[in-house]
Symmetry: C2
Subunit: 266 residues, 2 copies
Protein backbone atom coordinates (compact mmCIF):
# COMPACT_ATOMS: atom_id res chain seq x y z
CA UNK A 1 0.00 0.00 0.00
CA UNK A 2 0.91 3.69 -0.18
CA UNK A 3 1.56 5.17 3.24
CA UNK A 4 2.13 8.81 4.21
CA UNK A 5 3.93 9.54 7.44
CA UNK A 6 3.44 13.08 8.67
CA UNK A 7 5.51 14.55 11.45
CA UNK A 8 4.48 17.69 13.33
CA UNK A 9 6.44 19.56 15.95
CA UNK A 10 6.00 22.15 18.62
CA UNK A 11 5.21 24.97 16.22
CA UNK A 12 1.89 23.22 15.46
CA UNK A 13 1.19 21.41 18.74
CA UNK A 14 1.77 24.33 21.05
CA UNK A 15 -0.85 26.58 19.48
CA UNK A 16 -4.40 25.25 19.88
CA UNK A 17 -5.75 27.12 16.82
CA UNK A 18 -2.89 25.85 14.65
CA UNK A 19 -3.30 22.31 15.90
CA UNK A 20 -7.03 22.48 15.22
CA UNK A 21 -6.36 23.72 11.66
CA UNK A 22 -3.68 21.11 11.09
CA UNK A 23 -5.87 18.23 12.28
CA UNK A 24 -8.59 19.36 9.90
CA UNK A 25 -6.09 19.32 7.00
CA UNK A 26 -4.74 15.99 8.18
CA UNK A 27 -8.30 14.57 8.20
CA UNK A 28 -8.59 15.56 4.53
CA UNK A 29 -5.21 14.08 3.66
CA UNK A 30 -5.93 11.14 1.34
CA UNK A 31 -4.85 7.52 1.73
CA UNK A 32 -3.24 5.51 4.51
CA UNK A 33 -1.45 7.77 6.97
CA UNK A 34 0.45 7.91 10.24
CA UNK A 35 0.90 10.97 12.43
CA UNK A 36 4.08 11.41 14.48
CA UNK A 37 4.39 14.17 17.07
CA UNK A 38 6.68 15.51 19.76
CA UNK A 39 5.67 18.33 22.05
CA UNK A 40 8.85 19.70 23.53
CA UNK A 41 7.74 23.27 24.12
CA UNK A 42 4.64 22.20 26.00
CA UNK A 43 6.68 19.74 28.08
CA UNK A 44 9.15 22.52 28.92
CA UNK A 45 6.39 24.92 29.99
CA UNK A 46 4.67 22.24 31.99
CA UNK A 47 7.91 21.15 33.65
CA UNK A 48 8.65 24.73 34.62
CA UNK A 49 5.24 24.99 36.30
CA UNK A 50 6.37 22.01 38.41
CA UNK A 51 9.78 23.58 39.06
CA UNK A 52 11.63 21.22 36.72
CA UNK A 53 13.82 23.34 34.46
CA UNK A 54 14.86 21.92 31.12
CA UNK A 55 18.51 21.12 30.66
CA UNK A 56 19.58 21.18 27.02
CA UNK A 57 22.91 20.20 25.46
CA UNK A 58 23.33 20.88 21.72
CA UNK A 59 19.58 21.26 21.30
CA UNK A 60 18.89 17.95 22.99
CA UNK A 61 17.02 17.65 26.22
CA UNK A 62 18.74 15.92 29.13
CA UNK A 63 16.10 13.52 30.38
CA UNK A 64 16.40 12.83 34.08
CA UNK A 65 13.73 10.77 35.91
CA UNK A 66 11.46 13.79 36.55
CA UNK A 67 11.77 14.99 32.96
CA UNK A 68 10.95 11.52 31.64
CA UNK A 69 7.78 11.50 33.76
CA UNK A 70 6.87 14.94 32.42
CA UNK A 71 7.41 14.10 28.76
CA UNK A 72 5.51 10.82 29.24
CA UNK A 73 2.58 12.75 30.71
CA UNK A 74 2.65 15.52 28.12
CA UNK A 75 3.47 13.55 24.95
CA UNK A 76 1.72 10.21 25.59
CA UNK A 77 -1.04 11.62 27.80
CA UNK A 78 -2.18 15.15 27.14
CA UNK A 79 -1.11 15.78 23.55
CA UNK A 80 -1.53 12.28 22.14
CA UNK A 81 -4.99 11.74 23.60
CA UNK A 82 -6.25 15.22 22.71
CA UNK A 83 -5.08 14.67 19.14
CA UNK A 84 -6.76 11.25 19.00
CA UNK A 85 -10.03 12.61 20.43
CA UNK A 86 -10.03 15.54 18.00
CA UNK A 87 -9.36 13.20 15.07
CA UNK A 88 -12.23 10.99 16.22
CA UNK A 89 -14.38 14.14 16.21
CA UNK A 90 -13.33 14.59 12.56
CA UNK A 91 -14.46 11.00 11.85
CA UNK A 92 -10.89 9.75 11.64
CA UNK A 93 -10.46 6.51 13.55
CA UNK A 94 -7.13 7.22 15.24
CA UNK A 95 -5.20 5.29 17.88
CA UNK A 96 -2.50 6.82 20.03
CA UNK A 97 0.74 4.95 20.62
CA UNK A 98 4.18 5.16 22.13
CA UNK A 99 6.97 2.84 21.04
CA UNK A 100 6.15 0.66 24.07
CA UNK A 101 2.60 -0.02 22.86
CA UNK A 102 2.54 -3.28 20.97
CA UNK A 103 6.35 -3.15 21.23
CA UNK A 104 6.29 -0.80 18.26
CA UNK A 105 9.75 0.74 18.76
CA UNK A 106 12.54 -0.65 20.88
CA UNK A 107 15.43 1.64 21.77
CA UNK A 108 18.65 1.43 23.68
CA UNK A 109 19.33 3.97 26.38
CA UNK A 110 22.01 6.22 24.93
CA UNK A 111 25.40 5.23 26.38
CA UNK A 112 27.14 7.82 28.55
CA UNK A 113 30.22 9.23 26.81
CA UNK A 114 31.09 12.86 27.48
CA UNK A 115 27.43 13.71 28.12
CA UNK A 116 24.84 11.72 30.07
CA UNK A 117 21.60 12.34 28.20
CA UNK A 118 19.68 10.37 30.81
CA UNK A 119 16.60 8.43 29.72
CA UNK A 120 17.04 9.04 26.01
CA UNK A 121 16.60 6.20 23.58
CA UNK A 122 18.27 5.51 20.23
CA UNK A 123 16.03 3.37 18.04
CA UNK A 124 17.14 -0.23 17.49
CA UNK A 125 14.09 -2.09 16.21
CA UNK A 126 10.74 -1.20 14.66
CA UNK A 127 7.94 -3.78 14.56
CA UNK A 128 5.59 -2.70 11.82
CA UNK A 129 3.16 -5.68 11.97
CA UNK A 130 0.72 -3.96 14.30
CA UNK A 131 0.92 -0.70 12.32
CA UNK A 132 0.15 -2.60 9.10
CA UNK A 133 -2.78 -4.35 10.76
CA UNK A 134 -4.16 -1.01 11.98
CA UNK A 135 -3.72 0.65 8.58
CA UNK A 136 -5.46 -2.35 6.97
CA UNK A 137 -8.46 -1.63 9.21
CA UNK A 138 -8.34 2.11 8.34
CA UNK A 139 -7.16 2.99 11.82
CA UNK A 140 -4.67 5.86 11.90
CA UNK A 141 -1.68 5.43 14.24
CA UNK A 142 -0.73 8.60 16.13
CA UNK A 143 2.76 7.97 17.47
CA UNK A 144 4.46 10.13 20.09
CA UNK A 145 8.12 10.60 20.90
CA UNK A 146 8.44 7.94 23.61
CA UNK A 147 9.93 4.48 23.11
CA UNK A 148 11.02 1.68 25.45
CA UNK A 149 13.92 -0.71 25.96
CA UNK A 150 11.72 -3.86 26.26
CA UNK A 151 13.15 -4.28 29.76
CA UNK A 152 10.52 -2.10 31.41
CA UNK A 153 12.01 1.35 30.86
CA UNK A 154 10.40 4.16 28.85
CA UNK A 155 12.82 6.37 26.88
CA UNK A 156 12.49 9.85 25.42
CA UNK A 157 13.18 9.64 21.69
CA UNK A 158 13.49 12.22 18.94
CA UNK A 159 10.23 12.48 16.95
CA UNK A 160 12.05 13.06 13.63
CA UNK A 161 13.93 9.80 14.16
CA UNK A 162 10.70 7.97 14.96
CA UNK A 163 9.11 9.26 11.74
CA UNK A 164 12.11 8.29 9.65
CA UNK A 165 12.54 4.83 11.26
CA UNK A 166 8.84 4.07 10.77
CA UNK A 167 9.18 5.20 7.16
CA UNK A 168 12.26 3.12 6.35
CA UNK A 169 10.88 -0.01 8.03
CA UNK A 170 7.50 0.31 6.29
CA UNK A 171 9.32 0.91 2.98
CA UNK A 172 10.32 -2.75 2.87
CA UNK A 173 6.74 -3.68 1.91
CA UNK A 174 5.10 -0.39 0.99
CA UNK A 175 5.54 2.85 -0.91
CA UNK A 176 6.15 5.41 1.82
CA UNK A 177 6.25 9.20 1.66
CA UNK A 178 7.55 11.15 4.61
CA UNK A 179 6.30 14.68 5.38
CA UNK A 180 8.13 16.86 7.89
CA UNK A 181 6.10 19.90 8.92
CA UNK A 182 8.26 22.62 10.39
CA UNK A 183 8.30 26.37 10.87
CA UNK A 184 9.49 27.38 7.37
CA UNK A 185 7.92 26.92 3.98
CA UNK A 186 10.63 24.49 2.89
CA UNK A 187 14.35 24.54 2.31
CA UNK A 188 15.04 28.19 1.49
CA UNK A 189 17.66 29.85 -0.72
CA UNK A 190 17.50 32.88 1.58
CA UNK A 191 16.58 31.79 5.07
CA UNK A 192 15.00 35.19 5.75
CA UNK A 193 12.75 35.00 2.70
CA UNK A 194 10.01 32.43 3.12
CA UNK A 195 9.19 32.69 -0.60
CA UNK A 196 12.63 31.50 -1.72
CA UNK A 197 11.69 27.83 -1.51
CA UNK A 198 13.83 25.28 -3.34
CA UNK A 199 11.07 23.06 -4.75
CA UNK A 200 13.15 19.93 -5.29
CA UNK A 201 16.45 18.65 -3.99
CA UNK A 202 18.18 15.50 -5.15
CA UNK A 203 21.69 14.31 -4.34
CA UNK A 204 23.34 16.35 -7.10
CA UNK A 205 21.47 19.53 -6.21
CA UNK A 206 22.20 18.94 -2.52
CA UNK A 207 25.95 18.64 -3.20
CA UNK A 208 25.87 21.92 -5.17
CA UNK A 209 23.82 23.76 -2.55
CA UNK A 210 26.20 22.72 0.20
CA UNK A 211 29.21 23.73 -1.88
CA UNK A 212 27.71 27.18 -2.47
CA UNK A 213 26.85 27.39 1.26
CA UNK A 214 23.14 27.93 0.48
CA UNK A 215 22.43 25.01 2.80
CA UNK A 216 24.29 25.11 6.08
CA UNK A 217 24.12 24.56 9.86
CA UNK A 218 20.77 23.19 11.13
CA UNK A 219 19.48 22.27 7.71
CA UNK A 220 22.32 19.84 6.98
CA UNK A 221 21.41 17.13 9.53
CA UNK A 222 17.75 17.46 8.45
CA UNK A 223 18.67 16.82 4.80
CA UNK A 224 21.25 14.15 5.66
CA UNK A 225 18.47 12.31 7.52
CA UNK A 226 16.16 12.75 4.54
CA UNK A 227 18.70 11.24 2.14
CA UNK A 228 19.42 8.43 4.60
CA UNK A 229 15.69 7.61 4.52
CA UNK A 230 15.64 7.73 0.70
CA UNK A 231 18.63 5.41 0.58
CA UNK A 232 16.70 2.95 2.75
CA UNK A 233 13.76 2.87 0.35
CA UNK A 234 11.52 5.82 1.25
CA UNK A 235 9.86 7.20 -1.89
CA UNK A 236 10.20 10.90 -1.13
CA UNK A 237 10.64 13.25 1.81
CA UNK A 238 8.77 16.56 1.94
CA UNK A 239 9.71 19.51 4.14
CA UNK A 240 7.34 22.45 4.54
CA UNK A 241 4.69 24.20 6.56
CA UNK A 242 1.83 22.22 8.09
CA UNK A 243 -0.72 24.50 6.40
CA UNK A 244 0.64 23.50 2.98
CA UNK A 245 0.34 19.79 3.60
CA UNK A 246 -2.79 19.29 1.50
CA UNK A 247 -1.23 21.06 -1.46
CA UNK A 248 1.73 18.72 -1.11
CA UNK A 249 -0.60 15.71 -1.06
CA UNK A 250 -2.12 16.96 -4.30
CA UNK A 251 1.32 17.10 -5.89
CA UNK A 252 1.46 20.90 -5.89
CA UNK A 253 4.84 22.35 -5.15
CA UNK A 254 4.23 23.87 -1.75
CA UNK A 255 7.45 23.01 0.02
CA UNK A 256 10.67 21.17 -0.70
CA UNK A 257 10.54 17.63 -1.99
CA UNK A 258 13.68 15.61 -1.46
CA UNK A 259 14.17 12.63 -3.71
CA UNK A 260 16.96 10.45 -4.95
CA UNK A 261 16.40 10.80 -8.66
CA UNK A 262 15.74 13.85 -10.78
CA UNK A 263 12.40 14.22 -12.61
CA UNK A 264 10.56 11.59 -10.64
CA UNK A 265 8.63 13.78 -8.32
CA UNK A 266 5.20 12.22 -7.89
Amino acid sequence: MNISIIKIGGNVIDFPAKLEEFLFLFSRFPGKKILVHGGGIMATKFGESLGVMPEMVDGRRITDKETLDIVTMVYAGLINKQVVAKLQGLKQNAIGMTGADGNLIRSDKRPVKTIDYGFVGDIKEVNVDLIQMLLDKDIIPVVCAITHDKKGQLLNTNADSIASELATNLSKNHKVNLYYCFNKSGVLIDEHNDNSIIPMINEEIYAELKKENVIHSGMIPKLDNAFAALNKGVNFVWIGKAENLLLAAKGKLSGTTIEKHRYDLY
Copy 2:
Protein backbone atom coordinates in the same frame (compact mmCIF):
# COMPACT_ATOMS: atom_id res chain seq x y z
CA MET B 1 -12.60 -17.29 23.41
CA ASN B 2 -12.24 -17.02 27.19
CA ILE B 3 -11.33 -13.51 28.29
CA SER B 4 -10.36 -12.27 31.74
CA ILE B 5 -10.80 -8.58 32.50
CA ILE B 6 -8.83 -7.43 35.51
CA LYS B 7 -9.40 -4.07 37.13
CA ILE B 8 -6.90 -2.51 39.51
CA GLY B 9 -7.30 0.70 41.48
CA GLY B 10 -5.25 3.20 43.43
CA ASN B 11 -4.31 0.77 46.20
CA VAL B 12 -2.14 -1.09 43.67
CA ILE B 13 -1.15 1.70 41.29
CA ASP B 14 -0.02 4.21 43.88
CA PHE B 15 2.60 1.97 45.44
CA PRO B 16 5.48 1.13 43.09
CA ALA B 17 6.40 -2.12 44.88
CA LYS B 18 2.78 -3.31 44.87
CA LEU B 19 2.36 -2.40 41.22
CA GLU B 20 5.56 -4.26 40.37
CA GLU B 21 4.33 -7.35 42.25
CA PHE B 22 0.88 -7.13 40.66
CA LEU B 23 2.27 -6.86 37.13
CA PHE B 24 4.38 -9.93 37.72
CA LEU B 25 1.27 -11.86 38.84
CA PHE B 26 -0.69 -10.43 35.92
CA SER B 27 2.05 -11.62 33.53
CA ARG B 28 1.56 -15.15 34.89
CA PHE B 29 -2.23 -14.94 34.63
CA PRO B 30 -3.22 -17.48 31.97
CA GLY B 31 -5.27 -16.92 28.81
CA LYS B 32 -6.54 -13.85 26.99
CA LYS B 33 -6.67 -10.85 29.30
CA ILE B 34 -7.38 -7.15 29.52
CA LEU B 35 -6.14 -4.80 32.25
CA VAL B 36 -8.25 -1.80 33.30
CA HIS B 37 -6.87 0.86 35.63
CA GLY B 38 -7.69 4.19 37.18
CA GLY B 39 -5.19 6.16 39.21
CA GLY B 40 -7.18 8.65 41.26
CA ILE B 41 -4.82 8.99 44.20
CA MET B 42 -1.82 9.70 41.99
CA ALA B 43 -3.85 12.24 39.99
CA THR B 44 -4.89 13.96 43.21
CA LYS B 45 -1.31 14.15 44.51
CA PHE B 46 -0.05 15.39 41.18
CA GLY B 47 -2.84 17.96 40.87
CA GLU B 48 -2.02 19.28 44.33
CA SER B 49 1.61 19.75 43.33
CA LEU B 50 0.24 21.99 40.54
CA GLY B 51 -2.09 23.80 42.95
CA VAL B 52 -5.21 22.08 41.60
CA MET B 53 -7.17 20.77 44.57
CA PRO B 54 -9.57 17.89 44.02
CA GLU B 55 -13.26 18.58 44.41
CA MET B 56 -15.26 15.48 45.28
CA VAL B 57 -19.03 15.04 45.59
CA ASP B 58 -20.31 11.66 46.86
CA GLY B 59 -16.92 10.07 46.18
CA ARG B 60 -16.89 11.31 42.63
CA ARG B 61 -14.36 13.76 41.32
CA ILE B 62 -15.62 16.98 39.82
CA THR B 63 -13.65 17.21 36.59
CA ASP B 64 -13.05 20.78 35.47
CA LYS B 65 -10.78 21.56 32.50
CA GLU B 66 -7.57 21.55 34.59
CA THR B 67 -8.52 18.31 36.33
CA LEU B 68 -9.31 16.65 33.00
CA ASP B 69 -5.84 17.61 31.73
CA ILE B 70 -4.29 16.20 34.90
CA VAL B 71 -6.16 12.87 34.79
CA THR B 72 -5.37 12.58 31.07
CA MET B 73 -1.68 13.08 31.80
CA VAL B 74 -1.60 10.78 34.82
CA TYR B 75 -3.93 7.97 33.66
CA ALA B 76 -3.25 7.87 29.89
CA GLY B 77 0.33 9.12 30.09
CA LEU B 78 2.33 8.26 33.17
CA ILE B 79 0.50 5.23 34.61
CA ASN B 80 -0.68 3.64 31.36
CA LYS B 81 2.69 3.85 29.64
CA GLN B 82 4.69 2.76 32.68
CA VAL B 83 2.40 -0.26 33.01
CA VAL B 84 2.76 -1.06 29.30
CA ALA B 85 6.57 -0.72 29.42
CA LYS B 86 6.81 -2.91 32.53
CA LEU B 87 4.57 -5.56 30.94
CA GLN B 88 6.77 -5.50 27.84
CA GLY B 89 9.72 -6.06 30.18
CA LEU B 90 7.85 -9.16 31.42
CA LYS B 91 7.49 -10.35 27.80
CA GLN B 92 3.81 -9.43 27.72
CA ASN B 93 2.93 -7.63 24.51
CA ALA B 94 0.67 -4.91 25.92
CA ILE B 95 -0.91 -1.88 24.29
CA GLY B 96 -2.22 1.11 26.24
CA MET B 97 -5.54 2.64 25.34
CA THR B 98 -8.13 5.19 26.35
CA GLY B 99 -11.71 4.97 25.13
CA ALA B 100 -10.79 7.48 22.41
CA ASP B 101 -8.18 5.15 20.88
CA GLY B 102 -9.75 3.20 18.05
CA ASN B 103 -13.06 4.71 19.26
CA LEU B 104 -13.11 1.98 21.89
CA ILE B 105 -15.55 3.63 24.30
CA ARG B 106 -17.89 6.50 23.51
CA SER B 107 -19.48 8.37 26.40
CA ASP B 108 -21.89 11.22 26.89
CA LYS B 109 -20.87 14.09 29.12
CA ARG B 110 -22.96 13.68 32.23
CA PRO B 111 -25.91 16.11 32.10
CA VAL B 112 -25.97 18.83 34.74
CA LYS B 113 -28.79 18.24 37.23
CA THR B 114 -28.17 19.33 40.81
CA ILE B 115 -24.42 18.76 40.45
CA ASP B 116 -22.18 19.68 37.52
CA TYR B 117 -19.63 16.88 37.42
CA GLY B 118 -17.77 18.63 34.60
CA PHE B 119 -15.95 16.53 32.03
CA VAL B 120 -17.25 13.19 33.26
CA GLY B 121 -18.52 10.63 30.78
CA ASP B 122 -21.22 8.00 31.12
CA ILE B 123 -20.56 5.11 28.75
CA LYS B 124 -22.90 4.81 25.76
CA GLU B 125 -21.14 2.53 23.30
CA VAL B 126 -18.29 0.00 23.35
CA ASN B 127 -16.64 -1.11 20.10
CA VAL B 128 -15.00 -4.42 20.82
CA ASP B 129 -13.75 -5.20 17.27
CA LEU B 130 -10.31 -3.71 17.84
CA ILE B 131 -10.01 -5.38 21.26
CA GLN B 132 -10.89 -8.74 19.70
CA MET B 133 -8.34 -8.20 16.93
CA LEU B 134 -5.65 -7.36 19.50
CA LEU B 135 -6.50 -10.38 21.68
CA ASP B 136 -6.40 -12.58 18.57
CA LYS B 137 -2.81 -11.39 18.04
CA ASP B 138 -1.96 -12.04 21.71
CA ILE B 139 -1.70 -8.33 22.42
CA ILE B 140 -2.97 -7.32 25.85
CA PRO B 141 -5.10 -4.16 25.99
CA VAL B 142 -4.36 -1.93 28.99
CA VAL B 143 -7.31 0.44 29.24
CA CYS B 144 -7.34 3.55 31.42
CA ALA B 145 -10.26 5.52 32.83
CA ILE B 146 -10.61 8.09 30.03
CA THR B 147 -13.22 7.96 27.27
CA HIS B 148 -14.42 10.41 24.61
CA ASP B 149 -17.66 11.74 23.13
CA LYS B 150 -16.62 11.18 19.48
CA LYS B 151 -17.00 14.93 18.98
CA GLY B 152 -13.45 15.75 20.04
CA GLN B 153 -13.82 15.82 23.82
CA LEU B 154 -12.05 13.52 26.28
CA LEU B 155 -14.08 12.54 29.35
CA ASN B 156 -13.10 11.20 32.77
CA THR B 157 -14.87 7.88 33.30
CA ASN B 158 -15.13 5.49 36.24
CA ALA B 159 -12.71 2.55 35.80
CA ASP B 160 -15.12 0.03 37.37
CA SER B 161 -17.73 1.01 34.77
CA ILE B 162 -15.17 0.64 31.96
CA ALA B 163 -14.28 -2.86 33.17
CA SER B 164 -17.91 -3.91 33.44
CA GLU B 165 -18.96 -2.38 30.07
CA LEU B 166 -16.02 -4.07 28.33
CA ALA B 167 -17.03 -7.34 30.01
CA THR B 168 -20.71 -7.17 29.09
CA ASN B 169 -19.99 -6.16 25.49
CA LEU B 170 -17.37 -8.89 25.02
CA SER B 171 -19.77 -11.41 26.60
CA LYS B 172 -21.91 -11.33 23.47
CA ASN B 173 -19.29 -13.44 21.67
CA HIS B 174 -16.99 -14.69 24.41
CA LYS B 175 -16.90 -16.23 27.87
CA VAL B 176 -15.79 -13.34 30.08
CA ASN B 177 -14.68 -13.31 33.70
CA LEU B 178 -14.35 -10.01 35.51
CA TYR B 179 -11.85 -9.55 38.35
CA TYR B 180 -12.03 -6.49 40.60
CA CYS B 181 -8.92 -6.05 42.71
CA PHE B 182 -9.54 -3.84 45.71
CA ASN B 183 -8.20 -3.22 49.21
CA LYS B 184 -9.95 -6.10 51.00
CA SER B 185 -9.68 -9.85 50.58
CA GLY B 186 -13.23 -10.10 49.26
CA VAL B 187 -16.74 -9.44 50.49
CA LEU B 188 -16.40 -9.85 54.26
CA ILE B 189 -18.85 -11.01 56.93
CA ASP B 190 -17.03 -8.77 59.40
CA GLU B 191 -15.55 -5.80 57.59
CA HIS B 192 -12.80 -5.52 60.22
CA ASN B 193 -11.73 -9.13 59.81
CA ASP B 194 -9.99 -9.76 56.51
CA ASN B 195 -10.27 -13.51 57.05
CA SER B 196 -14.08 -13.52 57.13
CA ILE B 197 -14.39 -13.79 53.36
CA ILE B 198 -17.67 -14.92 51.84
CA PRO B 199 -16.34 -17.24 49.13
CA MET B 200 -19.38 -17.21 46.85
CA ILE B 201 -22.40 -14.97 46.45
CA ASN B 202 -25.32 -15.64 44.15
CA GLU B 203 -28.63 -13.80 43.96
CA GLU B 204 -30.25 -15.79 46.77
CA ILE B 205 -27.28 -15.42 49.09
CA TYR B 206 -27.04 -11.72 48.23
CA ALA B 207 -30.70 -11.19 49.19
CA GLU B 208 -30.12 -12.92 52.52
CA LEU B 209 -26.91 -11.04 53.27
CA LYS B 210 -28.60 -7.71 52.59
CA LYS B 211 -31.58 -8.65 54.74
CA GLU B 212 -29.26 -9.55 57.63
CA ASN B 213 -27.35 -6.31 57.07
CA VAL B 214 -24.06 -8.20 56.57
CA ILE B 215 -23.69 -6.36 53.27
CA HIS B 216 -24.39 -2.66 53.44
CA SER B 217 -23.31 0.84 52.35
CA GLY B 218 -20.37 0.93 49.87
CA MET B 219 -20.51 -2.78 49.10
CA ILE B 220 -24.08 -2.64 47.76
CA PRO B 221 -23.41 -0.63 44.56
CA LYS B 222 -20.32 -2.84 43.92
CA LEU B 223 -22.41 -6.00 44.13
CA ASP B 224 -25.35 -4.48 42.26
CA ASN B 225 -22.94 -3.70 39.43
CA ALA B 226 -21.57 -7.23 39.57
CA PHE B 227 -25.06 -8.75 39.26
CA ALA B 228 -25.92 -6.32 36.47
CA ALA B 229 -22.84 -7.61 34.59
CA LEU B 230 -23.87 -11.24 35.24
CA ASN B 231 -27.37 -10.48 33.94
CA LYS B 232 -25.80 -9.14 30.75
CA GLY B 233 -23.89 -12.37 30.15
CA VAL B 234 -20.64 -12.13 32.14
CA ASN B 235 -19.62 -15.57 33.39
CA PHE B 236 -18.49 -14.58 36.87
CA VAL B 237 -17.24 -11.58 38.81
CA TRP B 238 -14.46 -11.93 41.35
CA ILE B 239 -13.67 -9.42 44.10
CA GLY B 240 -10.49 -9.67 46.12
CA LYS B 241 -6.93 -8.55 46.69
CA ALA B 242 -4.56 -8.12 43.78
CA GLU B 243 -2.02 -10.44 45.40
CA ASN B 244 -4.58 -13.29 45.34
CA LEU B 245 -5.35 -12.94 41.66
CA LEU B 246 -3.32 -15.95 40.57
CA LEU B 247 -5.00 -18.19 43.13
CA ALA B 248 -8.32 -16.99 41.75
CA ALA B 249 -7.21 -17.82 38.21
CA LYS B 250 -6.38 -21.33 39.40
CA GLY B 251 -9.89 -21.74 40.78
CA LYS B 252 -8.77 -21.52 44.40
CA LEU B 253 -11.12 -19.65 46.67
CA SER B 254 -9.07 -16.61 47.44
CA GLY B 255 -11.72 -13.90 47.32
CA THR B 256 -15.41 -13.60 46.64
CA THR B 257 -16.82 -15.02 43.45
CA ILE B 258 -20.17 -13.61 42.39
CA GLU B 259 -22.22 -15.69 40.03
CA LYS B 260 -25.80 -16.08 38.98
CA HIS B 261 -26.22 -19.75 39.67
CA ARG B 262 -25.26 -21.84 42.65
CA TYR B 263 -22.67 -24.65 42.29
CA ASP B 264 -21.32 -23.45 38.99
CA LEU B 265 -18.18 -21.80 40.13
CA TYR B 266 -15.50 -22.62 37.58
